[in-house]
Assembly symmetry: C2
Homo-oligomer: 212 residues x 2
């Protein structure tokens, strides 16, 4: 209880800082391997020249994702290696944020540790959470992990190129998600084929403009 | 620290109880949606008539998996709904185990909450952990979640029917896994096509016999 309050205190400070600089911040969450890094790679490739994007990539071990984001063209990328914690917290973000030039940043993307449970309890000062679910992990996930879907503003269904390779039903996952959170925006795409990517980019750009 | 010691105390009691009754116990762990329940459904279908199998299916919310296991023929199935905890613990197992007839059980299968981090820190009294990874979640998972792969005895690579739909490399995931844990048994299969299932069933039956 006390720990959460300290996190909330730090998260509020981050939020104020980001809002002061008109930086739109997203916290990307999902199971391991749903495609967070892939979506960020595609987003950097499409928008990295028109918008200044800061990226934080967190994992228990390795800096693999930060390296991938840099290779994809990310100019302001920092890894966070938790060494054990199953979620990022506001203290870690505060430390990393001090290395970014907030004057120039338009967007801050935080890739959280792959985990559908714990990250939902740790505010990082973001504007909103983006929850990814892939068509390969089962359409009951919103019901099984309601906390994460309840606290997200948008759900991205990734790997639609693999529809038909399991009993995953697109309409059913949307129905389940809306049961948990009626206000969720829902997008479907494939990072692999590019299908639906435009809609994501438009959604993003609209939100960035709204933020100003 | 104190909490973990209480868990270890209870886990030791469970272990003693299971060993006394010569029950071989497996703790199934993986990311959400890698195929734990699917593998258990197949295993029940194949062995449920020749061996008495007790099943515990844990999730944050829903009893979906316990229902699936019962429909698959499981005769002794109990759900655990944690309501928030991102992992099963020995206290929960102790409570459920009191409802099983340990005199008749040959096998106990525990399906943990889908999570590659937290369950690795909570001994449930099992003989060994079985970690599943699917070919759709990326071959760097053993490096990103070393704790789980280090504490497992066998890694099951599931969804081999989907090889070729991403950059997942079977040899690379094995190399990564053995970097973390040189003693890992590694099996590859598809719950969907049945490919490799025989090898899993043989592995299991050999381990059951060894346990006696
Ligand atoms: N078929 C298919 N594969 C995809 C798609 N998007 C990502 N992948 C693959 O899915 C695997 C995981 O993708 P990542 O982008 O690393 O997922 P992630 O959520 O960042 O993973 P973690 O950070 O480790 O939790 C990789 O093998 C990707 O190539 C997609 O749209 N279709
Ligand atoms: N293509 C393919 N799909 C599979 C395979 N095994 C399981 N699936 C699908 O993967 C999805 C998840 O399977 P589950 O068995 O529910 O996975 P799980 O690990 O029990 O999921 P949670 O308990 O929710 O973490 C379902 O849509 C299954 O049909 C496989 O070998 N190949
Ligand atoms: Mg990633
Ligand atoms: Mg399951
Ligand atoms: Zn946690
Ligand atoms: Zn935990």
């Amino acid at each position: 209880e006390k720990l959460t309050s300290e996190n909330d205190r730090l998260a509020a400070q981050i939020r104020e800082q980001l809002q002061q600089h008109e930086i739109f911040a997203l916290n990307f969450v999902s199971s391991p391997g749903s495609g967070k890094t892939s979506l960020l790679e595609k987003t950097i490739a499409a928008l990295g020249n028109s918008l200044e994007i800061g990226l934080i990539a967190g994992d228990v071990q390795t800096e693999n994702d930060a390296e991938r984001l840099t290779r994809a063209g990310g100019r302001m990328v920092r890894p966070i290696v938790t060494g054990g914690a199953c979620h990022l917290d506001a203290k870690m973000i505060t430390r990393v944020l001090s290395e970014f030039n907030l004057e120039t940043l338009d967007l801050l993307f935080i890739e959280n540790v792959g985990n559908l449970v714990c990250p939902s309890s740790f505010d990082l000062g973001e504007d909103m959470k983006v929850v990814l679910i892939s068509t390969t992990e089962g359409d009951d996930k919103p019901l099984k992990y309601p906390g994460m879907f309840r606290r997200s503003s948008v759900m991205v269904v990734n790997k639609i190129d693999l529809l038909g390779t399991s009993d995953f039903d697109l309409e059913r996952v949307k129905k389940h998600a809306r049961q948990i959170n009626a206000d969720l925006d829902i997008l479907e795409l494939s990072c692999r084929t590019g299908d639906g990517l435009d809609t994501w980019l438009q959604w993003l750009q609209r939100r960035v403009r709204k933020n100003r």
